[in-house]
């Protein structure tokens, strides 16, 4: 199976064969793999160097590699093909979601507003702190699903920002 992988922002193509045979960007890699925690942690030994790889979180896709945290996502070709054109992953569409449950203390924008990247969109009170959630990208607030005073769950969609044309 072929995977499109992004590691720390760099694209890598991985072909995973049987018996721990991997092609990385077309080059055969002698990787010996020991799974140390099921589905969560592996020791990947490459040319004598052991690398402990731990899945920190699936979403966002973060790995711990030798004690270093890195964003690393892998999508297999079939999934990639199926998801192309899906509106959720459409280019130019950015979702702002609540990173944790909390109380919306303040909503700083209205639907239709233009916002700069990093502009405050809402203030979420959680863990006894007020946290300003900021626009992931410059654009237009296409949808606003947040109301002041509302309690929101972790992961709840708060706003959709689309690239201004």
């Amino acid at each position: 199976m072929r995977y499109e992988v992004a590691v720390g922002g760099r694209a890598v193509r991985v072909d995973a064969g049987a018996d721990e045979r991997f092609l990385v960007d077309g080059r055969a890699v002698d990787a010996q793999i020991v799974e140390t925690v099921r589905g969560r942690q592996w020791v990947v030994r490459i040319d004598g160097a052991p690398h402990e790889v731990t899945v920190l979180t699936h979403d966002p896709p973060r790995l711990l590699v030798d004690g270093v945290e890195v964003e690393a996502s892998a999508v297999d070709e079939r999934t990639l093909a199926a998801s192309r054109g899906s509106p959720r992953h459409a280019a130019g569409r950015h979702e702002l979601r609540a990173p944790m449950p909390g109380l919306l203390k303040r909503v700083h924008v209205r639907e239709g507003d233009r916002v700069d990247r990093d502009a405050a969109v809402v203030t979420l009170e959680a863990m006894k702190m007020e946290n300003e959630l900021r626009a992931p990208s410059a654009g237009r607030v296409a949808k606003l699903a947040a109301a002041e005073g509302a309690k929101v769950e972790g992961g709840a969609l708060l706003a959709v920002i689309v690239d201004a044309e």
Binding site: V24, H58, P99, K128
Partner: protein
């Protein structure tokens, strides 16, 4: 000595207090909200009682519930930990009125020092420099405008009843004042029940340096060296160390002397901390006294060899301090890393989650104060502190090396943590050189993207692929694969 203590807190500090009580042979009674019924502090205590639903105001902040447990469990004392009711004069008074010993300063001391402008007046009267600003709470926004104009921007707006970095805003110009006033007052109201604010001149490039104090009821006061706590985000500390890299012996003596003078003026009792801002020119000004044990007390324990909780319990029981100022001997250097449930790549926004995998660091020079276990759900209702990694070394360089090693060994999977920040700071040249102030995090975070070396990047790419596979297929990877699954299957054999 005290016999049976209600630990009116949760998380790592509840476990920390229980540990020392166990060392001293004092029985412990834990309390827990619905979110904490399987918490480690519950299991470590001799008894444990439920005190209501997860929100703190319905559980850990409920004075009647806590006193009811203390009565039921026949406690003779209450340790408040930090946060929650630890700096509440009302709680200290209610505990005393119930005939129990409060392990902390008495209510009148808390009241005097808890009102920050009163504490400022007290320090000034004791001959300790205080930052220019207001010595009474501000009546309204107009008065704030006038005061800020007089002191000169930038200023800090602070909650009069504040502490822990809540209800605090830096204001760089008159235009920002109104918004900052509203947010700070709102936070102060929510956190302390009092919206009162005051302001003081914001000292640019200042370091936050604090002095640990312990005082007994017989006039004994000792200062136990300083801690530099300048590495903060949102006015909350991320890293603390002792000795302070910018503090020389002369400054140390002046800070210690100032702290003791304030303690004497306030008729202080028990453990407390005098906080100061130290300007780049070495002048310092008093900030406030934290009338409780600090989160970062273990760095002081690491260099002095003292157990601060044990000292708290002894002086609360009426004993004299077992040491005089001349007996305080510090050895080496210590650094504390606060590992929090926050995502440093997203502005340190806090987030809960389930601890899917946990590996705490160990070995020479490492102490971990935490209360995590694998499978634990980290509640989002409370402070995001997960664990404190406390590192000691013969000198700062050794402590730094060990801290880097400790961070590399630590794994907390399942939720975002501050560890990437710590990993960065510990190799960042300014931090390594000890050149930092309260603006450190803003100036040095986020760092430029990390470049993994080729082997690690290849391993990461393969790991990313492995993490997408169904767990069912994982057993194929070899005999040692699927350790947990195998363990479950083999249990019946043993």
């Amino acid at each position: 000595m005290l016999r049976r203590i209600l630990v009116a807190n949760r998380g790592e500090i509840a476990l920390r207090v229980i540990r020392t009580c166990r060392d001293l042979g004092i029985a412990t009674v834990a309390v827990y909200s619905d979110a904490d019924r399987d918490a480690l502090h519950v299991r470590a205590a001799d008894e444990a009682y439920p005190i209501g639903p997860a929100p703190a105001r319905d559980s850990y902040l409920s004075i009647p519930k806590l006193l009811a447990v203390a009565a039921t469990a026949r406690c003779d004392a209450v340790h408040p930990g930090y946060g929650f009711l630890s700096e509440s004069a009302a709680f200290a008074r209610a505990v005393a009125d119930a005939g129990l010993t409060f392990v902390g300063p008495p209510a009148e001391v808390q009241a005097a020092l808890g009102e920050k402008t009163r504490a400022r007046r007290m320090a000034r009267d004791a001959g300790v420099p205080v930052a220019e600003g207001t010595l009474e709470p501000l009546r309204d926004l107009d008065e704030a405008r006038a005061a800020a104009a007089r002191v000169g921007y930038p200023v800090m707006l602070k909650a009069s009843a504040g502490g822990g970095g809540k209800g605090m805003r830096a204001v760089r110009s008159a235009a920002e004042l109104e918004a900052a006033w509203r947010m700070a007052a709102g936070e102060a109201s929510g956190a302390f029940g009092v919206p009162d604010l005051f302001l003081e001149r914001l000292v640019e490039h200042a370091r936050h340096v604090e002095v640990q104090l312990v005082a007994d009821a017989h006039g004994g006061v000792v200062s136990l060296g300083e801690r530099d706590c300048s590495v903060q985000r949102r006015h909350q500390k991320l890293v603390e160390e002792t000795p302070g890299p910018s503090v020389d012996d002369a400054l140390r003596e002046r800070l210690g002397d100032a702290a003791v003078r304030i303690a004497r003026a306030a008729r202080y009792r028990n453990a407390g901390t005098a906080e100061f801002l130290v300007a780049p020119d070495g002048t310092f000004s008093f900030l406030e006294v934290n009338t409780r044990l600090q989160v970062e007390h273990p760095v002081t324990e690491a260099v002095t060899g003292l157990d601060l909780v044990a000292l708290q319990l002894r002086v609360a029981a009426g004993e004299r301090l077992p040491l005089a100022q001349a007996d305080v001997a510090c050895r080496g250097a210590a650094i504390e890393l606060r590992v929090t449930a926050e995502d440093p790549s997203a502005g340190f926004v806090p987030a809960g989650g389930r601890v899917a995998l946990l590996r705490e660091p160990s070995g020479p020079g490492i102490r971990v104060d935490g209360a995590l276990y694998e499978g634990m759900r980290v509640p989002t209702e409370y402070d995001p502190l997960l664990m404190k990694i406390v590192v000691w070394g013969r000198d700062r360089a050794e402590a730094l090396s060990r801290a880097r090693r400790a961070v590399r060994e630590t794994i907390v999977a399942g939720l975002p943590t501050s560890l990437p920040f710590h990993a960065h700071a510990l190799v960042e040249p300014d931090f390594v050189a000890g050149r930092y102030d309260t603006g450190y995090v803003d100036a040095h975070w986020p760092p430029p993207p990390l470049e993994l070396d080729e082997g690690a990047r290849t391993a990461a790419a393969i790991g990313a692929v492995l993490s997408r596979r169904r767990p069912a297929a994982a057993g194929r990877d070899g005999a040692a694969g699927g350790a947990w699954a195998l363990a479950a299957r083999e249990e019946a054999l043993r």
